[in-house]
Each structure stands twice: as C-alpha cells, then as structure tokens.
Symmetry: C2
Subunit: 333 residues, 2 copies
Amino acid sequence: MEKQTITIYDVAREAKVSMATVSRVVNGNANVKKETKDKVEEVIARLGYRPNAVARGLASRRTTTIGVIIPDVTDHYFAELARGIDDVAAMYHYQIILANSDESNAKELRVLDSLLGKQVDGIIFMGNLINEPIRDAFAKADVPIVLAGSVDAEQAQASVTIDYTLATQEATTRLIKSGHQEVALIMGPSEHSINRDYKLVGYKQALEIAGIPFDENLVITADYDYQSGYQLAHIVNDSMATAAVVVDDEMAAGLLNGLVDMGISLPEDFEIITSNNSRLTVMTRPQLSSITQPIYDLGAVAMRMLTKLMNHEKLDVKNIILPHGYAERDTTK
Amino acid sequence: MEKQTITIYDVAREAKVSMATVSRVVNGNANVKKETKDKVEEVIARLGYRPNAVARGLASRRTTTIGVIIPDVTDHYFAELARGIDDVAAMYHYQIILANSDESNAKELRVLDSLLGKQVDGIIFMGNLINEPIRDAFAKADVPIVLAGSVDAEQAQASVTIDYTLATQEATTRLIKSGHQEVALIMGPSEHSINRDYKLVGYKQALEIAGIPFDENLVITADYDYQSGYQLAHIVNDSMATAAVVVDDEMAAGLLNGLVDMGISLPEDFEIITSNNSRLTVMTRPQLSSITQPIYDLGAVAMRMLTKLMNHEKLDVKNIILPHGYAERDTTK
DNA sequence: CTGTTAGCGCCTTCAG
DNA sequence: CTGAAGGCGCTAACAG
C-alpha cells in the first residue's frame, strides 16, 4: 500500500543504462541492441516497473485517452454505441473517459470542457440536440471530434450515421402499402435535428410519394421511454391512425403494450414498426417489426474514424453512412 | 485549431503576478487578496485559460479520475450501476475511465494495470468472478478499490451489495408458500461466488426451512441473457419444477416467453420471480414479479464510499448492505 | 546504438 | 499575502 513508486530512473540505474534507453525499450523503439533490451526488460519485470501515463502524457502531449459524451448509458441504444466505441478503442490501446450528459446542453458544455482539460486526444459525441453553443465549442476544441449515431444538420463535424430519412421513408411506405392511409409518426422532441431534419422529412416523403396529404395530428412527439409510449396509446387510438412508425424501441414497446391492454390486437387492428431493432424487439408479444441499424458498428466505425483523425490521416468520407435494413416480425402483417 | 496552449505563465505575466498566485486562485486557496484574485480571474476569463489536468496530475499526484471496470455496459444491470457511479463521481468532480471486461480475468487484469498506469485515484470494480489473481492484483494496487453490486466471499475489499442470500431465500420461500414443492433456481455459472456462496445458499435455506429436500436437478445454470433463458423453457418444463427463481431479468423474460410460446400459462401453471426489477419486468406480458434492489444506489453508494477512501476517511462499515424488497406482478399468484 | 539535456504545465514548500 | 525554485516521471531532440 506504500507510495513506493518506482520510476524509469530506478530501472536505468539497476540496468546500468540511461533512462533514455529504458524509455526506448518501453516504447518499442527499434534502436536498441538486443542484449541491452533484454537486460532492461528483465529489470522492468523484476522491479515491477509500470510507466506513469500521466508523466508520459505531459511530456509527449498525447494521453491515449479519448472522451465519450453520452446522453445516458442506461439507454440501450447508447450503451450499444458505447460498446462499439470501447471495443475499437481498446484495440488501438486508447482508454475512454465516459461522461453522461442527459442531453443537457449545460452539462455537455461542462464535460466537454473538462475532457479538454484532461488533454484527451479526441472526442466522440453522442447527442441529439446540437445547437450553436455546442457547435462553437466543437469548433474551438483543439482535438478531433466525431459524432456517433447523431447528426448535425450543418455537418460541420465528422460523423457516422445511417440514412435516417430514407429508413423512415421506407418504413412509412411499407405501412402505407399495407393499406394504411393514416400512419402516425411517433418521434422525440422536434428540436432534435434527427427528428426534424431527417425522420420527419422521410415520413413526409413517403406520404408525398403515396399522394397522401400530410396531417400534423399524426405526428406525435414524446420522450424516448416506455412510460411515455404507454401513455400514448390513448392518444394514438383517438387519432385516426391505424399504424405507426416509432423512433425508439422502448417507446414502441410501451405503445404496443398500451394498445394491447386497451384490447386492440396487433397486427390486425394496428401495425407498428420501430427503429432500433434492439433485443427488446423480440421480448415483447407480439414481437416488434423494426428498422435495423448497425448500432454497435456506428460506434465502432466512429472510433476507427477518430483514430485516423488523431493520426492526422486524411478521411475519404467525412460523414459516413452505414446501411440499414428491416426486420419483419409480428407487429406488421 | 492551433495548439496555441495558454499556460499558467501567460496568465501570470498578463496579470502581473507570479504563477504561484495564479495557481492559488485556480485552486481556490484562501490566501489571496480579493483584488489580486479578481484581477487574475479576469485575465483567466479573458485569455480563456484552462488548467492542464495532466500537468496538475503529475505535480500533485492526484488525477481526480477513477477507473470503473464493468463486465458489459450493454447489460442493463451494470449500466444502471455505472450511472449511479457516474452521477456521484460528477458530484465530487471526478471523471470516470470506463473499461469493459467481459468478465474475462485476463482482460480485467489488463485493464486494472492500465488504469493504475493512468494514475487513477481509485477504482470501482464490477464483476462476478473474483479469484486469486484478481485478489492479488487488488492487494497490490496502491489506490482504494470498491466492489459495486459484486461480492467477494473473502470480503477483502470494500463493497456495496444487497443481501443476496436473504433475498433469494425470501423469493424461494414465497414460491413454496404459494404451494410449490418443486421450485427451480435458475442462476449463472457456479464459479461466480454470488451464485455459489450467496444465492444458492439462500435457496437451500428456504428449502430447509420448508422441510423440502434439495434436488440438484432443480438448480439450472445458464448465461445471463434472453436467448439462454428462452432455450431453458424446455428443460425447465421437463424438470418437475412448477415455479422458478431467476437471477437475471433478461433470462427471466426469455424463460417466460419460452414457456408461453409452449402454451404454458403464467401464473396459473408456472410462477416466476426474477431478481433485478429492471424496466424490462413491466414490458413483458405477463409482467414479471421481482425481487427489488436499489441498483442505481449500489453504484452511487460505492462511489461515495470510494471518495471517502480516497480522502483517507475512516469507513464505518466496510461491506455495506443496502435493503432489497419485492414487487408483486403477474408471474406470481 | 546510447547518453545528455531540456523541458511538458503545474503544485508546493519555503522565504519574505 | 506573494514570489522563487525545485521537482513530478517521462519524451524528444541532439550529440556522440
């Protein structure tokens, strides 16, 4: 338990070489004779020397640490993204500083600042509400930033997403083709660009293609959680909708159960397509049909992209779009 | 985008004081005249100075960073714990380095080492398999470590848990009292101390109290996930069990759906009590009755405990046990 | 291939 | 209440 830290000097002395040499072998620098390298490594093992990453970070100005700003780890969608990020980060020997933001701008700015203070080498940002202050802070940051599973209409930052507009359009079209004239879109706050500028747009496109007039009463906004989905059941039922595209799985599960508890049977009387294809979609009864998206990969690719940026490599594409799909289950006919 | 870092020296020069003084105001040291303090703060704001946490960490030997080792962020139980940890950490101005371990000892040891190299001020460990190598590594670590929602039979480390034995005993007893002679215990690997030394023990206690002989065929081991729970349905049905205590919610949901899909109706023909009371318990149909435990608090209290340890405060209790409860839903009569 | 020498940016006695 | 000076442990030229 003692603070008996053993440093590079101790190793150098014990191995009868200079600290520079020790530093070289620790960092895998090729310019070291095999013999001295072995000698040094023996001493390192014997003394149990462990490089001090903080000192290293100060001297080299690289911390091999990246910051991850996440709305809420408890949300399965973001947790999955985080997992993809962490796995790739580990692969490249980066550590992750994780900070929950609750989608609060104030918190986001605060953690961004503190991450920069920690001298992270890069940042991955997840969050739906990107406004001026945040954009500003991003622009001022002196390290690369990548958005994962999040869009900024301005596309100033590098990002990895799916084509939300198209995915939503397809789902809506699918429902229309199934015979529904009144398809609801159940989404999150319209301040969120991902809803306003992408998903809603895709929804409208589908209507337009089908020649169905847009009815704003069919666009329902709520929080991304089970309870608000459940409570929506009455509202949805009161609207003329006979089908719905829902942007969040928990929300969809809530709506589903709410409808079922009201005696409505799916898919006969109502159809639902949800958006994230999380494990939850197979746990409900009936199982939820869903847009599929490579959530884990969204995170993994974003992290890979960040490594390139940190390495000053050129990016082929700044805004990567990963393919999405569709999984037919039991809430659609 | 330039690396135009502005340091404490720049502030000092601009404010016409020494860097020591700037350091004092930044660190809220009281011994600074109001005027000079104001002056310095004005300059700090004007130049946009941001202390370099790495340099600070090197000089002060405190990084205000703690390491969190987690089996999998994607698992709702652990994500909830992590959330509790992060919230309290943020409250005390600590940052969190998050590392997924997949319950692999090799990975755990590796990330532990790398966290220590980063000079974290403390570590929170989540994981069910604590064996000699890990215990050893813990003992050698020069920073405090707290286990959250995880037990080590040896109780060498500080920890925050619930009384798993009692909780399991109560759930089992509840099922027995409901008229079942054959109650199954569906748990994870028995190498995990939490299963072998706590939950299984509680299960046996309940049998003993009721005077029911222990039947090892009723103790079923599987992975903590939906699929393995689902696949268990046949096995459970083939056994003589008419009720089950399940240690994981996804597993329980799987079992539930598996049984229902086989035409068995709950709670009439079979009763289930699960263990984590996650949101999932209200999403299944029928809803899952569950032991309730303060998962978020487990994390929050563990983090609070760690702050005390890092502060060299004495702990009243080294192994904190938080209260648990029971939520009656629809998989029990 | 190896050693020397400056820092990296800040904290922290120790004087005054 | 404030300044000067010595590290913290390591990397990175620069010699040799």
